[in-house]
Amino acid sequence: MKLVRFIGERFWLLALLLACWQVLAARRILDPLFFPPPSKVGETLWAMLATGELGREAGATLARAGAGLLVGVVGGGLVSILLSVSPWLRAAVQPLVSALYSTPRLTMLPMVMLVFGVNEASRVALVALSVGLVMVIQVSDAVRGVSRDYVDLAANYGASRAVIVRKVYLPACLPQIFTALRLSIGRALVMTISIEMLSSNDGIGSMIWMSWQTFATEKLYASVIVSALLGLLSGPVFHLIERRLVPWTRDQA
């Protein structure tokens, strides 16, 4: 009963809009070539799932985003540790990071391709760069935000530098590291699909662009829905992991 109410409260507007769309398209008030009715989009989605096309393309996108995420998170994490250790390095790298962060990442695709060539490496590299920047900014911020009080407290009890890093800095930064990871997952998916629209033969982005070019509007809508679902589903799964690993932030308002 609770679930029914939950769904009712959240999805009535969406359902109403879909119903209107369905009726308007069926009565041909909306041109079904431009706005195919949701039932048709659903059928197409189902057919794509049945033929395995959907799984293949979504898999390609996820693999690409995952590879970029891995490289970006590890690389960004390492760079942020270096920056936290050396204030000298931080001062020098900061302007570079700020400049890169304020440049739309997609504009760098041609330059990245000049370096790596028109291949998979370029796509993954750009996703990784995009993710890495988020990590560097968030994690360095977290490290600087660690309260002096906790460091003093541990030092007072005789903790060594290594113990302070492990017992104070790491757990103190963990909540913000998780925020950075969550942002990174979203960013990686957006970047991957955008890159695929520009330069790729597979993946959801490529499917969207192909559908547009061949005017396969039913497939176009279906692909956009899939890309939205990928982003939506990554959220709750990640949230579960986060609650297990940083339990002390659970009760904070």
Binding site: D152, P171, Q252
Partner: protein, 259 residues
């Protein structure tokens, strides 16, 4: 244990040159004594404790803390007003932190932490994180950790300042009971004269910044003590004398600033 400080001076850089927080501060702490500093706000009380805890190097002067044969641990540990607990550790892990740093095995330190928490009325809170504890509980956990580490000297920086009247009274009584059993050397800091009289063996009055000792009082109350101390007769007089010293102390500070 013997604690002695002579001619301590601490200076901080400030917008107009430098600010002297402590000036020619000299005092000695006796073994197993509850020593309290009272002083107006800004007299450098917190600075003094940070210096004693080894978190701040004094600009000049000597600090000597010699652990006695009965002390298992030569450390000087601080309980501050807030940010005492690591938010990412459970109450039990927080209490056991000192033991962990001393290399005590997990099972033993958890058992001892649980036992002490139970003694302080925190049974069942071992697995709670600090964000799930009340302010009073948090300070109990902080005091418990300090006691469990068994330092040569315990430093307490207004540990009950943020508590409401009733909780403060309960915690004062708990501290009295615990201390009267263990007799650790304590250096306590407060701006509350009644709290100082209730808890201490000896009271030192600090002047307004730069802080230095301007008066010394013995508290002639036998132990064990009760938290509801009647401030009459001799004690009322003691309180008035301390308040008088404080007023004088504040006066000298302002005078020094004007000059």
């Amino acid at each position: 244990m013997r604690l002695s400080c002579s001619q301590l001076r601490v200076t901080f850089p400030s917008s107009n040159g430098s600010m002297t927080a402590l000036r020619d501060l000299t005092f000695g702490g006796r073994d197993g004594e509850f020593l309290t500093f009272v002083g107006p706000s800004g007299c450098g009380k917190t600075t003094l404790l940070r210096v004693l805890a080894g978190l701040l190097a004094p600009g000049a002067g000597e600090i000597e803390c010699i652990a006695g044969p009965g002390d298992r641990n030569s450390s000087v540990l601080l309980v501050s007003q807030e940010h005492n607990l690591f938010p990412w550790m459970t109450a039990s892990a927080n209490v056991a932190f000192g033991l962990e740093m001393q290399g005590v095995p997990r099972a033993e330190r958890e058992a001892r932490a649980g036992e002490l928490l139970a003694r302080l009325g925190c049974a069942g809170k071992e697995r709670a994180y600090p964000c799930q504890l009340s302010v009073g509980m948090k300070q109990r956990v902080a005091v418990a950790r300090c006691f469990l580490s068994d330092p040569a000297v315990m430093l307490m920086d207004e540990p009950f300042a943020a508590l409401d009247f009733q909780t403060r009274m309960i915690l004062q009584q708990e501290l009295l009971d615990l201390w009267e059993q263990e007799r650790k050397s304590v250096v306590f800091v407060t701006h509350d004269v009644e709290e100082a009289i209730l808890l201490s063996d000896r009271i030192l009055v600090l002047s307004e910044g730069p802080g230095t000792v301007v008066a010394e009082y013995q508290v002639p109350v036998p132990r064990p003590r009760r938290a509801l101390l009647e401030m009459d007769g001799e004690l009322w007089e003691l309180k008035q004398r301390i308040l008088g010293s404080l007023r004088l102390a504040a006066g000298t500070g302002r005078f020094a600033c004007a000059r």
